[in-house]
């Protein structure tokens, strides 16, 4: 399946895109998604150990399973406030 991932801040800057479409196996988890990103967009590899992912506007963990309709976002360390 294709997972669309929204990018922000340094992730968007490194990929030079606001959204990336990542090819993953069916019922991939966040861990699988990260592996797929490293293969398909190596320019993001350096930050992936330091970012969180959100699924449908909630923080997800490595084991969270994805479906192609999920809204997925890559969340680098935040600096608001």
């Amino acid at each position: 399946m294709k997972i669309e991932v929204r990018l922000f801040a340094v992730a968007r800057q490194l990929a030079n895109q606001e959204t990336i479409a990542v090819s993953c196996p069916e019922s991939a988890t966040i861990a699988d998604l990260k592996q797929a990103i490293i293969e398909q967009l190596p320019e993001l590899a350096t930050i992936l150990d330091h970012v969180r992912f959100a699924v449908n506007s909630d923080y997800a963990d490595e084991k969270t399973q994805l479906s192609s309709t999920d809204e997925v976002a890559c969340i680098p360390p935040v600096s608001g406030g």
Binding site: R6, F8, A9, V10, Q13, L14, T46, I47, H50, A54, S57, D58, Y59, A73, I75, P76, P77, V78, S79, G80, G81
Partner: protein, 142 residues
């Protein structure tokens, strides 16, 4: 009340919104654009966010704060876009019957906002370079 806006922040509006005859204490935090970080000079800042999630997280934090402290009224406004030196990026104001609760709640909200809410600051340094601020992230080669 939660708001994410590109307009300048009006701290007085936030104070008026949370003032109440049920409250004896109003505490407000205002985050403003500082000129120097260590020895680096800032020219301006830019804030971006993941809007749907940022609004949701701020609303969840307000609810969690109300569960912990007897808050009468609460206002959280975060600014986005271009900020000049001295301009405010965030106001958190709330009222409680007694002052200790208000101080604790505002500090807790600020700590949580800086950990959890998907908003990012981009430094525009005086030397012309720009840099997204990501605490804990190793420096990137761009």
């Amino acid at each position: 009340m939660i708001q994410i806006t590109r307009d300048p922040i009006d701290p007085d509006a936030a104070i008026r919104q949370v003032s109440s005859t049920q409250a004896g204490a109003v505490v407000m935090f205002l985050g403003t654009t500082r000129e120097f970080t260590a020895e680096k000079k800032t020219r301006s800042l830019n804030y971006d966010c993941y809007p749907e999630m940022a609004e949701r997280k701020l609303a969840e934090l307000e609810t969690a704060a109300r569960d912990r402290w007897p808050i009468v009224e609460c206002s959280i406004v975060h600014r986005l876009g271009h900020l000049e030196l001295g301009e405010a990026s965030i106001v958190v104001a709330l009222s409680t019957a007694h002052r200790r609760d208000a101080f604790e709640a505002v500090q807790w909200l600020m700590d949580r906002i800086k950990e959890e809410v998907p908003i990012w600051k981009e430094e525009h340094w005086a030397d012309g370079t720009t840099e997204w601020v990501h605490p804990g992230l190793p420096p990137q080669e761009n």
